[in-house]
Symmetry: C2
Subunit: 131 residues, 2 copies
Amino acid sequence: MFQLALNYGNGPMLLKDIAEKENLSVRYLEHLVPPLKTARLIYATRGARGGYSLAKAPTDITLKDIIRVLEGHLYPSECVETPEVCSRSRFCITRDIWTKLEETISTTLAGFTLQDLVDKYYNKTHHEELQ
Amino acid sequence: MFQLALNYGNGPMLLKDIAEKENLSVRYLEHLVPPLKTARLIYATRGARGGYSLAKAPTDITLKDIIRVLEGHLYPSECVETPEVCSRSRFCITRDIWTKLEETISTTLAGFTLQDLVDKYYNKTHHEELQ
DNA sequence: TTAAATTCCTACCAGTTTAGTAGGGATACT
DNA sequence: AGTATCCCTACTAAACTGGTAGGAATTTAA
């Protein structure tokens, strides 16, 4: 998603290129694509000259959006979302803590957009050039 | 650890009793004990009339202490602690985010002590009595 | 029209982690 | 001496994670 953000506005990008830049296999990346499409964070153009593009501006995609799609959840224990999994949920103090923790994680991740990453990236490489 | 905190000041507590109250098996709890002892969060008294006690006051044990001991770490990716696991660490933007996230999680968990849980517990049961 | 480029879908696999169970030994109180 | 209790090591089964593999579908372009 970071590579797609870097490439935003320049047409579709190949998985092959993303794989090279991020040092991952195309086969593996293919695995991540379907949920991202379903969530309408990216869209695909098939066939020759095809590839993937962000479906929204990098300013409009937060890390929380991405991680929720790829990891499924942010809570440290399932009982946060599904109290029924444990008979103790109603009065469980630990569960209150897990809920609090999920809120913190959520808030932190929602505070970063892809554009923030792109900006950080350019700051970083610029700094290295100066040294 | 919550049960030990509730029992703090009343001598050693049996794993059997903790197991009953938390609806866990003694065999499983035995598994959690060694790291907690090594970290000097609890101590054991062997033999008849033995059991486990907190090694410090509940006000002096944070959830971060406990979770670091039982889960080993708080980071979402190993590269946060051990940059060498990935050649991209030096310039990886994502890693910066994971580091930030670990800090947030750490801070949140360090903000709760066992005494806080005990207090919440009493508040909660008191409330239910009123209804 | 055909070949090449590329996404898309489903299945499989292997290592690690998690949540336990099990047996028996060591220690200390009464 | 006997019993309660912790202690240590090994084993196991299910789920999760990260990844490979094969081949079908679609689109562009020569």
